[in-house]
Amino acid sequence: MKITALLVLKPSTSGAGSSSSGCGSGPEAVVLANATDVSHFGYFQRSAAREFIVFVARTVAQRTQPGQRQSVQHEEYKVHSHNRNGICAVAFMDDHYPVRSAFSLLNKVLDEYQKDFGDSWKSATADGTQQWPFLTDALTKFQDPAEADKLMKIQRDLDETKIILHKTIESVLARGERLDSLVEKSSDLSAASQVTLSLLCLVNDRFDFIQV
């Protein structure tokens, strides 16, 4: 079990989910806070992993409607997102982290964010660059789902909106949208990272191709 990243984003309100894709980049979510731990990636994959996390978080958050809770499977990762009244928390976890615990954690993150920053996020237009200590600590503390379980007990009476499960990231996209064109358009991913990512998918942790 592993939490790789926790983020807080503000999905852009001008036509969320951008049905009119095709040309030009649609509205994008703004990253308000980001805590990422890529130490378990290989040294040369870390920067690509970091960029990829921001890219996926933006993509998913932008497509999570207010009040909605979604879980997206992406390879061996699960991306959970919860939009509460226009502010969205996103978590990257491995497959085995209990889903319910993940969402209580997202709830907690949103509570704390609003406690610390109030409504200032509503006017945010650019990515926040400052570290938010709570999020960094949470990333360490909640690696153990038992900690998130404790939250769940306190939050028991909270909303029980059904969680929408997606088997692939493509199924989150609006009709007519394609992941590779989003990847191409994204300013989060450098050319190098795009190559690394496709290589990673192809070769995973084996390097058999050398023997050819």
């Binding site: 378990h40 690696q143 038992a146």
Partner: protein, 397 residues
């Protein structure tokens, strides 16, 4: 000609920084984005700067090689190795070529064997330690490579023949496996390596390892490997012989207590993480030994029956809890119910002496017979194979 220069340069980098602990093969695009150059090791750069920046990058003991030269580099390393292989006067050359070759292709067993030949000629601890470092380097990008793990075991064996005290080395190996397991999930080979080390451990070390791997298991309940390691440790405790001055009675009661704690711990995890097969597998192992080894120990004592009864009551209680858990959207409860039913079934098969007791108890709490439990808990498509496999279908007809 160019290829040989590349190889020479590659070997020079490896020689210049023996502490390199990670290697990456990068696509040219990503390679260029690294920014150029080595900052510290300027001694090797004057000779071939053009390769330096174009194809190799080494900083902070991390080495990147551009993937566009890999085929050429590999061929050069292979040819160089074949040419030096039969000349015993060139041992140093041979070691250098095989090192380069194995980093590019760790499954080349012939090359590993050539290294073993050179290393066996004379025992040299420092050289063997370098060998361990080479293995670390390869495992950094190919953590499941069996040839490398196998070579590592060979090296450790050589060291163990000369050294009585392996404690420190074993400790280091444990740390290595833990780090690799963080990066590559379900790495059976890494954990198998750790199991292989158990005979080199003292009883105290075995106990320490058990303690240290607890948290890791809790955080990786889906990974059976660590539970398998714990099972190997527990079995080692059962087998271990008394050392001087140890009291067999305290020892036995210590192991008894350990087993009891492990059972309880496993139960807590089962409740916390629903529907995890590895937890139930662990329980199967624990229960089987618990009944056979510990509860039967008191055969002569009249309270034996009550001990076993107590245990069975407890396990049936767990079963009934799992069966009655309300369903949810994540399927966890259903899987949990199925696993718990199969667990009871397995116990009844594996330890036939308790089968009657199990049935009695099930009847007592009005859950019917084992068959009814299965029907209730298993998916219909899975039911038939289970019934057939376990010979229950025949009995019921």
């Amino acid at each position: 000609m160019l290829a040989q220069d590349l190889l020479r340069h590659f070997e020079r980098i490896l020689h210049a920084d023996p502490l390199i602990d990670e290697v990456g093969f990068l696509h040219p695009t990503q390679f260029r984005s690294l920014g150029c150059g080595q900052d510290g090791d300027s001694d090797s750069s004057p000779q071939a700067p053009e390769f330096q920046y174009e194809y190799f990058w080494c900083r902070e003991h991390k080495l990147a090689i551009s993937s566009e030269i890999l085929p050429e580099l590999y061929r050069a390393a292979r040819d160089a190795y074949y040419n030096s292989r039969n000349d015993s006067s060139q041992a140093a050359q041979l070691m250098s070529h095989t090192k380069a070759l194995l980093i590019l292709c760790p499954d080349m067993l012939t090359a590993w064997n050539s290294r073993k030949m050179v290393l066996s000629e004379k025992y040299d601890l420092a050289k063997l330690m370098d060998e361990l470092q080479l293995c670390v380097l390869i495992l950094s990008y190919s953590p499941k490579n069996e040839s490398t793990w196998s070579h590592r075991r060979w090296v450790l064996k050589q060291v163990a023949e000369q050294h009585q005290d392996m404690a420190e080395l074993v400790e280091k190996e444990s740390v290595l496996v833990k780090e690799l397991a963080e990066r590559s999930k379900m790495n059976y080979r890494a954990w198998r390596h750790r199991c292989w080390l158990i005979p080199y451990m003292t009883r105290k070390q075995v106990l320490d390892e058990l303690k240290k791997s607890t948290k890791w298991s809790e955080l990786h309940v889906a990974d059976n490997c660590c539970f398998h390691y714990r099972r190997s440790l527990l079995l080692a405790l059962l087998d271990s012989r008394l050392e001087n001055g140890e009291d067999s009675l305290t020892w036995e009661s210590e192991t008894y207590q350990l087993w009891k704690d492990e059972l309880r711990w496993d139960e807590i995890l089962i409740r916390r993480y629903k529907g995890r097969e590895s937890l139930w597998n662990h329980r199967r192992f624990l229960s089987q030994w618990w009944i056979q080894k510990f509860l039967a120990l008191e055969d002569t004592c009249p309270s034996t029956t009550s001990q076993v009864d107590l245990f069975i009551t407890q396990e049936i209680g767990l079963l009934s809890e799992c069966l009655n858990d309300h369903a949810d959207e994540f399927e966890e409860s259903r899987v949990q119910a199925e696993l718990s039913a199969l667990y009871i079934l397995w116990i009844s098969k594996q330890v036939p002496v308790v089968k009657r007791k199990l049935e009695e108890r099930l009847h007592f709490v009005s859950m019917g017979r084992l068959k009814d439990v299965l029907v209730r808990a298993c998916r219909p498509e899975k039911l038939r194979p289970w019934m057939n496999l376990l010979g229950l279908a025949d009995q019921s007809q």
